[in-house]
Symmetry: C2
Subunit: 259 residues, 2 copies
Amino acid sequence: MGTAVGGGKAVPRYVQIADEIVQQIRAGVLGAGDMVPSESELVDRYGVSGGTIRKAMVEVRASGLVETRHGKGSIVKARPPVRLRSSDRFRRTHRQEGRAAYLAESAQSGAEAKVSVLFIGPMEAPEDIAGRLGVEVGTQVLARRRLYFRNGTPVETASSYLPWDVVKDIPELFAENPGGGGIYARLEEHGHVFAEFVETLQARPASKAETSELALSPGAPVVHLVRDAVTEAGRVVEVCDTLMAADQFVFEYRIPARD
Amino acid sequence: MGTAVGGGKAVPRYVQIADEIVQQIRAGVLGAGDMVPSESELVDRYGVSGGTIRKAMVEVRASGLVETRHGKGSIVKARPPVRLRSSDRFRRTHRQEGRAAYLAESAQSGAEAKVSVLFIGPMEAPEDIAGRLGVEVGTQVLARRRLYFRNGTPVETASSYLPWDVVKDIPELFAENPGGGGIYARLEEHGHVFAEFVETLQARPASKAETSELALSPGAPVVHLVRDAVTEAGRVVEVCDTLMAADQFVFEYRIPARD
DNA sequence: GAGTGGTCTAGACCACTGA
DNA sequence: CAGTGGTCTAGACCACTCT
């Protein structure tokens, strides 16, 4: 046979099918944790070939509502992802309450948060990081690499880099748990008082490697966020390089009106 | 025949081919404006079937380095896109110099910018906008919908919504060109002095409709940005709803350290 | 018209999951 | 083991672009 006959519009069949499945999820016909019918079952149900169903499922995955595992099937994701990541999570009052930024926000939205430390130790500064820290490429810096989970699924990797002369007298920064208020609290206790944080964001499709690290569907977008922590002395004492699953976050920034 | 024979690894052939093409572009073998070989030529060159090449090209498109048009082919994109969109483009000094935010930034990065006005006129406030403006759903507001171009290609759609009682005495806001400094300058001249701007961002794959409006490849990510302009009186006098091609922008925000 | 990408098919084989 | 998704093929027809 041929192509989408019948109506004779422009919407390809696989898009129609994808939309139909997405609607069923949004409408609750398929609820959180339910399995999406298997591809072969969908082939029967819609009377199209496997390739077409396959393309439809690629679209469905791109919607972020579903997670597919190989010999298993596709399962409707647990929930309306989206965690607000607001710009005032760096307030000192939050730190003094003893909570690190990510916990403060997770608590707000009632989700279970977890951090797994992947690496803490010395490292030669990569080029872009060295530039931001104002040190030579290859200089030794402290790297702290972690993976953040939310409700059991990885949503974010973060790598902090700090100049060695800053960290060498702050033993807590070498510990998995740097203590109440996080590393920023420790830094301010040691005289590195922050003036501002500069964040740059860019969204792009996940690479193959990132796809597996964050358990994403191929092609799902990620947000690459890099933050410079600048002290009142004008020095960048930390660069935090973060990669986040885009469907898990909404970013909020408040910009004061200025002259 | 079967699958990726030979080595016997896990990397699918279409990914290998996609990577190879992407490398050629990054290395400059294929330069800006060059046509990527046609799919049938790639079929010959790599000795695989059309479907495999097709999947490879989907990957290549996802990299954002290439733009594909139907009966034409794939062309290597003109540019290392990326335009910095920094949070201090709302400074009054910029407005007083008579330049609107987008022009100030475009000038910086030496790109040709253009705006096309799609619609200016009264409109019933949609639900989310009404909520932000603090008016009833369906109340009449002024809508200003524009499409921004950069070097000839559309990169951003923006829709501003303003309460009717605010705009009714400011005729410039109904004009395509609201005058030097843009609508924010006009609003401040009429007593609406801004205290802050609140921006929320979310990245997601483009929908089918957005794909065509911004001339994107299917599945390419977009950034949805909504900005509330808040006056010193605590009122939101403008909501700007923006959709941007993610590969065209880097966002920068400066966050002052606070208690 | 010839050439391009876009959709679809019908069937093959592989790799992973779970009972 | 049966069932699932993942990759690949070879060929068909369609829609768009350019000449």
